[in-house]
Amino acid sequence: MHFFETHRLTKAFGGLIAVNNVTFHVEEGEIYGLIGPNGSGKTTVFNLITAYYPITSGTIRFRGKEMNGLPTWKVCKEGIGRTFQIVKPLARMTVLENVMTSAFCRTSNTAEAREKALEVLQFCEMEKKIDFPAKGLTIGDRKRMEIARALATSPKLLLLDETMAGLTPQEQADGVQLIRKMRNAGITIIIVEHIMHVIMNLCDRILCINYGQEIARGTPAEVANNQNVIEAYLGKE
Amino acid sequence: MEMFIQTLVAGILIGGVYALIGIGMTLIMGVMRIINLAHGQLMMVAMYITFVLYQFLNIDPYFALLVAPPALFLIGAAIQRYLLNPLIKIESIIPENQVLMTVGIGIVLTETIRFMFSSDYKSVKTSYSTATFNIGAISWNVPMVVAFILAVVLTASLFFFLLKTDVGKSVRATAQNKDAAMIMGINAEWITQLTYGLGAAMAAAGGTLLLPIYYLFPDVGGPFTLKAFIITILGGLGSAVGAIMGGLVLGVAESLGATYISMALKDAIGMVIFLLVLVFLPGGLKQLTKV
């Protein structure tokens, strides 16, 4: 039994097959990379795992439990957290309130939720910004807050959807640090990312998809040298 | 059986006019994504314009079709420009503030008319108001038949406008994706004014067509706002073809209900249909056509 696995995961929007027979598994403590050109179906995979879309066929298993058919909020309760490619801050709440809201996932006590939120914000090095309104944050801080928010639900598995896009090189370096720190804290991570050096640096294993189908898998070095991957990104000569 | 067919015919005839009014609201819904809760009140204003033309200038209600809808087009465009569009820039907690604005507009229109004409019932009694002809055993009310035919003509011209002209295509593009339309160089603000104006004009035409048969009073708008709104839901929020179907369904259902259930509950029948659609068919009638 794997920590997390999908089996022949498929999603069709009408006639368009966005995700086609994708099978992969992630072991506990891994950082797993999911890459592919724009529109290849990476975010759709995340949306299937977190039940934003119903699955057309295939199964998802998490810690031995079949996840098919669970609503989004229950997926979160089971221990899968996520961030969004296009960040979704709760705009008219402060940073602390945003993170407290998600901390309520595991407690109904306000003081406990606050404590958990502060702890997570400290972990993410955002303690100076707790009283900032979310809508006034820079894009870097929004992405970081979204990670903090996902962490406050105490996930076992975290899905990060392009958390580095649009960040400055310094912010990217800090982000890589943060992801490592999360892994060291015992969280398994699946990461969708376009910025190659980030993926190559962080991931233990990588799955590359294009047009919703697997085209390569393996260690970062193996995938980077795979002919299919190079063609998918750069086009055929 | 005869009574059934008679009822059905009456329902279809009135349904054609309902469809005309409903399309107006659907158009506004499609482009602005708001329910126009002043729709029936705009129609009511048009009816009073027609009434004044008849009463004081002796102008035939059908001729008023050339006056009332254009007048309402201007009123509608002005409402969109000066009252609805400015709200887009205001950040508020309540996302439906444009809808609420239309409620306010509806009240002001009703009360203005009440102020000018009092709450008394008025009617336009033309020589042909009660004229009928018979085909077989079924009797046809002349103004209703004319209203139906004109409603079909007007609806067809609207479709021609939306499908074949450049401006019409811009309206449809804006309805589909406002941001993309703006990138393509469509002046969305202008399109919204045009759309609200057109929507109001369609309602105005419907009201004018109904006038030879209906009593007129300031509060006549409210029930028609609700009818238009039911049609919009029946049609599936923003589909013009759906609105035609919705209008006919509502007309027939009301007519059957009034004959076989109770005259007093006629207005409730539309509401019940609305709820049934909401529960079982949230995409509206068009959901049936594309499974």
């Binding site: 709440m93 | 709200l87 205001i90 609420l100 102020f115 007093a264 609305f274």
Partner: protein, 325 residues
């Protein structure tokens, strides 16, 4: 702390008001205002905090009022039983509406509430054997003095505000606001948006129903056109909240007093100082007010307070966030 003292002062003032003001007319106005505090706060919990805009709170008000009235006409028991049953009855209707509408995203809830209020109004008119139809329900009031009603209204308002305050500061409050801000994000944080929208609606419909039952007992008369009115209940509930400040804790209370005062000013032609036609224009004034408030004060007296004070002292930037203070 300062604001806490202010609230205690206002409460104390309200508590001693009938002792110093003997006029039934003014007592009546404050009683009605207190009733609107309850309805406004209820609407605000659902729309201002949870983001589910109801255009038909008359549903719950009317069901509460009719529950009380029917206790007398149908069951032959005191309409005061309505104070116990009115809230739960309205809540039951709320649960049903939530069950139908909250599964669907988009404007369905707002639309359904208008339609359901209209259906109930028509039923109340047509089903004469049960509801007395347009004739309405007339009962004999228990007290001739306004004072018992006054303290009852004050009690209900205080309990309602305290409870809603507690809710807003608790997990529910955070969840409600999260749903208002972004439903997708809320689901990802483990929030069952369906369940919490329903909970918000339950609380909201309960208190609105209670206010309706109170209205029946206090006024002694209801008819379908009054208690199921789109304008004077449903839209009034929205106006009360918006003029005071939707999504703020105390805005609707402020709005209730402002709206009742404004309505009375028009109804009485500014206490007789204005020409008498003004009283006929009170519906018009209501409509104009809707337009003006939405156009210029979308966040209300409390929400736009900084904007209002800025009119006098220009220059300071408006505060960015005002969440539930």
């Amino acid at each position: 702390m300062k604001s806490l003292y202010a609230k205690i002062a206002v409460l104390a003032l309200l508590a001693v008001f009938p002792l110093f003001v003997g006029s039934d007319y003014y007592r009546h106005l404050v009683i009605i205002a207190l009733m609107w505090v309850v309805i406004g706060a209820s609407w605000n919990l659902l729309a201002g905090y949870t983001g589910q805009v109801s255009f038909g709170h008359a549903i719950f008000f009317g069901v509460g009022a009719y529950t009380a009235g029917l206790c007398t006409t149908q069951l032959g028991i005191s309409a005061w039983w309505g104070m116990l049953l009115g809230g739960p009855a309205a809540m039951l209707v709320g649960i049903l509406i939530g069950f139908i509408c909250f599964r669907l995203r988009g404007a369905y809830f707002a639309l359904a509430t208008i339609a359901i209020a209209e259906i109930l109004r028509l039923i109340a008119i047509v089903w004469r054997d049960f509801t007395e139809g347009m004739q309405g329900i007339l009962i004999i009031q228990t007290f001739r003095s306004k004072v018992p009603y006054y303290y009852l209204a004050l009690g209900i308002a205080v309990i309602c505000m305290l409870l809603i305050y507690k809710i807003i500061k608790s997990k529910w409050g955070f969840y409600f606001i999260a749903i208002r801000e972004d439903q997708d994000a809320a689901e990802a944080l483990g929030i069952s948006t369906f369940r919490y929208k329903s909970l918000s609606l339950m609380v909201s419909s309960f208190f609105t129903g209670l206010a309706g039952a109170f209205y029946m007992n206090y006024m002694g008369f209801i008819d379908p056109e009054v208690v199921f009115s789109l304008h004077f209940i449903s839209i009034m509930a929205i106006l009360v909240s918006i003029i005071g400040g939707a999504g703020t804790m105390w805005g609707p209370s402020v709005g209730a007093f402002i709206m009742v005062m404004l309505q009375e000013l028009f109804r009485s032609s500014f206490f007789g100082y204005a020409p008498s036609w003004v009283s006929h224009a009170h519906a018009m004034a209501f409509g104009v007010l809707v337009i003006l408030v939405i156009r210029f004060m979308a966040n209300g007296v409390v929400g736009d307070w900084s904007k209002i004070t800025n009119l006098w002292s220009k220059g300071k930037p408006a505060a960015l966030v005002t969440n539930g203070n």
